[in-house]
């Protein structure tokens, strides 16, 4: 009974059901609390449904949906920006729970933090992360390398002081 023309909708739904918890966790890393994170995921998937006909299939569907969710989470975090551009990566107020449980990851700049979450938590490959965040693959690689370097440096400081 599934209509052929809604196959994309089904794929989005399957992705939603199978990866919901991951989407919420990453959104929580952006917005800081569960309620807004869940809201962002719901809004992100709603946007994906509305725009599903515009998805050309030239990249992974999951990456495309991640972009919707990440965008929705960013919108939930910030007041509307006057003439905001697409590439806004200011550091948001750090979510308390993130600070408590993931102090080193939490203190990364937002772009690095997001890349880390999408890589290690959501399990996306570099290309998918690039598509989700609308950045170059090289930027993903650089962000991860910088994040690693920051964490190693912080660890070395901890050890040196300890």
């Amino acid at each position: 009974m599934r209509g052929r023309r809604d196959r994309r909708l089904e794929e989005i739904e399957t992705l939603y059901r199978e990866r919901f918890a991951y989407f919420v966790q990453v959104a929580r890393a952006i917005v800081g609390d569960s309620e807004r994170a869940r809201d962002a995921v719901q809004d992100g998937f709603a946007a994906a449904i509305r725009g599903r006909e515009s998805f050309r299939g030239d990249g992974p569907l999951e990456a495309w949906v991640w972009r919707m969710v990440v965008n929705a989470a960013r919108k939930a975090l910030r007041p509307p920006l006057v003439a905001a551009g697409a590439d806004q990566f200011e550091i948001a107020e750090l979510p308390p729970r993130l600070l408590e449980t993931s102090p080193l990851v939490a203190r990364l700049p937002e772009r690095q933090r997001l890349v880390v979450f999408l890589r290690y938590y959501a399990g996306l490959d570099y290309r998918s992360i690039a598509a989700a965040l609308e950045i170059e693959v090289g930027t993903v690689s650089a962000a991860l390398a910088t994040a690693h370097a920051s964490i190693r440096k912080a660890l070395d400081e901890v050890h040196a002081n300890g």
């Binding site: 905001a84 938590y121 609308e134």
Partner: protein, 622 residues
């Protein structure tokens, strides 16, 4: 030295372990999307059947408490033996299914209906204490079809019960066939199936009924208004009628109190604070809920078939009730997540499921199932829970089947809300989980205006419209670029540069009169086609909005405004959907421009009745 990779993984795991066990709500996503496509069956799955041990329609009804109620089934020979093609088609599909009925199941043909040129067969069979129906296209006998069963208890307080709502796409050009089917006891002569527009009287034959309608599928820009079933009444042999409990399958659906046709604009709203039955207090909490056999990778049940999305580390399929084919996949997914998978009846592969944290909300974790007249709740319980019971809003209490930490229980949607309770070996409550009640049909609220029209500020340029030609400030805005819109309407209060993105291209939104969705007066949104970005929708909610002929249009009740537009601009617009006439679409109206795809939308958010809205759209029905 500690590797950064390890630190990152440890920290993310710690974050994950402290997170609440979020449950997905696909219906809410669809509501937010305002999706108007035909309802895709939520892949909370449909294994239909709470069924199946013996296969044949034998005269075992006397042992099930239904004697005298489904007379034709008591005899053991309702209808006639299924034609060979239908029988073989079922067997073929059954052999390939993961959740299958016992081999040798014999079907009986209960009735056939031809709708829109396509014939459908309603077949019946018994298994154990369950009564089962299979609805399938007669020319596609080996299709999955719809397969649903119910048990005698579910019919105990009602004269008839819908067991399935269906939608088929048939023909070329495509037509949609939709409707309901179910059981009716011996007291019922016929069923009156009410749709939003019109009603159908359908006869009861062999204690079953089938009501189907065909409608052209249409296209995105020209599709027929939905006309779902919203209420069913049983016409009794003794005279009189009885309302048949039914949760409307329209989307989003709900309950129509008393099955009474709405008298005015309506929507399906949140259910009232109906108390959930059953024990709510946990008296024997499980400190560290887990499933030891799964973590040890013990090969219980059957192997899990391949999963389309996600990486499964280890998974099995468990059938909690040996007399019932309903089965649930249980698996450890990537990063140690606990995953559940469901199987549609007769479907050859996984039909839905999800992964998440293990038992963050207690030792009961609900699984995946389909929103349907008969809902098949399932889930996992932690070690230490020895039995699971469902307490239903209807007052019924149902024992769930439980095996290897997986439980299943079938419940009529009309009996919600419900509480699933897990007990330990000492009959102490170890955990509970709630199932929400159904939405309820409610009248659209009357708008609440605090400021009289005379006290409103003078209309700004972007608040002056002319519905005769869909202009704003004397200019045609739809189709303009963002820069051209600014030139026509002035500088907006807010430009959201990347309100949405399409294939990497940022598409803006212009907001006038306010920054937030709750306070803005006009939101101009855009679409992208090729390299062109153009205005495709103007959403107004400013009280000062003034039409050249109708005046302050957003200081009128939406229904009054709709009538005013029909009277004044009847030559420009045709009414597509009257205000609040399709409750699943909420308190909204749509007027399509004659001879063009553009049009108007108007309405009210029932949860914020102080600001009605008017929308000028490039595609009224798209």
């Amino acid at each position: 030295m500690v590797d950064a990779d390890v630190v990152i993984r440890d920290e993310l795991e710690a974050l994950s372990s402290g997170a609440p066990d979020e449950r997905p709500d696909w219906d809410d996503v669809l509501r937010r999307a305002g999706d108007r496509s035909p309802r895709v069956r939520p892949r909370r799955l449909a294994f239909a059947l709470a069924v199946v041990t013996a296969a044949v329609l034998v005269a075992t009804a006397l042992a099930t408490g239904i004697p005298g109620r489904l007379g034709s089934w008591v005899s053991g020979t309702p209808g006639s033996p299924a034609p060979a093609g239908l029988q073989h088609g079922f067997e073929s599909s059954n052999r390939a299914a993961y959740a299958a009925f016992p081999a040798g199941t014999k079907l009986r043909l209960l009735l056939s209906r031809t709708v829109g040129g396509t014939t459908f067969s309603l077949l019946g069979f018994r298994n154990g204490d369950a009564y089962c129906l299979r609805l399938v296209r007669t020319d596609h006998p080996d299709a999955i079809g719809r397969n649903e069963c119910l048990r005698a208890e579910e019919l105990s307080n009602v004269p008839a019960l819908v067991v399935g709502d269906v939608r088929f796409s048939v023909g070329d050009p495509a037509k949609n066939v939709n409707g309901v089917y179910g059981f009716a006891d011996d007291t019922v002569r016929s069923l009156l199936v009410e749709r939003l527009r019109g009603q159908d009287a359908v006869a009861v034959k062999n204690n079953v009924f089938l009501s189907l309608r065909s409608v052209r599928a249409g296209s995105v820009q020209d599709h027929p208004l939905p006309n779902p079933v919203f209420a069913i009444h049983a016409r009794l042999r003794s005279g009189g009628t009885k309302n048949v409990p039914y949760v409307s399958a329209s989307f989003p659906g709900g309950v129509v109190p008393g099955g009474k046709r709405p008298t005015g604009p309506s929507y399906f709203g949140r259910s009232s604070q109906q108390s959930v039955p059953g024990p709510a207090k946990v008296t024997a909490p499980i400190a560290h809920p887990t499933i030891a056999w799964l973590k040890k990778h013990e090969e219980r049940g059957k192997p899990l078939p391949p999963v389309r999305f996600g990486n499964v580390v280890f998974g099995r399929v468990i059938q909690p009730d040996p007399d019932d084919p309903v089965a649930v996949g249980i698996a450890i997914g990537a990063r140690g997540a606990l995953c559940d998978y469901a199987f549609a009846p007769l479907a050859p592969r996984i039909s839905g499921g999800g992964c998440g944290t293990w038992f963050q909300q207690g030792p009961i974790r609900l699984g995946t199932w389909e929103v349907a007249p008969i809902e098949h709740f399932n889930g996992f319980v932690a070690d230490g829970i020895t039995h699971v019971t469902a307490f239903l809003g209807s007052g019924r209490i149902v024992q769930a089947a439980l095996r290897d930490n997986v439980f299943t229980v079938a419940v009529s949607a009309t009996e919600l809300p419900a509480r699933i309770v897990g007990y330990d070996a000492q009959n102490r409550v170890a955990g509970t989980a709630e199932m929400l009640g159904n939405s309820v049909l409610r009248p659209c609220p009357t708008p609440t205006f605090t400021k009289p029209v005379g006290a409103l500020p003078r209309a700004k340029p972007w608040e002056r419209i002319d519905l005769a030609n869909m202009t704003v400030n004397g200019k045609q805005i739809l189709g303009l670029s963002p820069a051209a819109v600014e030139a026509a309407l002035g500088k907006p209060a807010v430009v959201r540069g990347a309100a949405q993105t399409t294939n990497g291209v940022a598409i803006p939104e212009l907001r006038y009169g306010g920054a937030l969705p709750s306070s803005l007066g006009l939101s101009v949104t855009f679409s992208k086609k090729g390299d062109r970005i153009f205005a495709n929708q103007l959403f107004f909610q400013s009280p000062s909005l003034t039409d050249a002929k109708l005046g302050h249009v957003l200081r009128m009740d939406p229904l009054v405004l709709q009538h005013a537009i029909e009277r004044r601009y009847g030559s420009v617009y045709r009414l597509y959907m009257s205000y609040g006439s399709v409750p699943s679409f909420g308190c909204n109206a749509i007027l399509a421009r004659r001879g063009r795809p553009s049009g108007l939308g108007l309405g009210l958010d029932p949860y914020r009745p102080s600001r009605p809205f008017l929308v000028i759209r490039k595609n009224a029905l798209g």
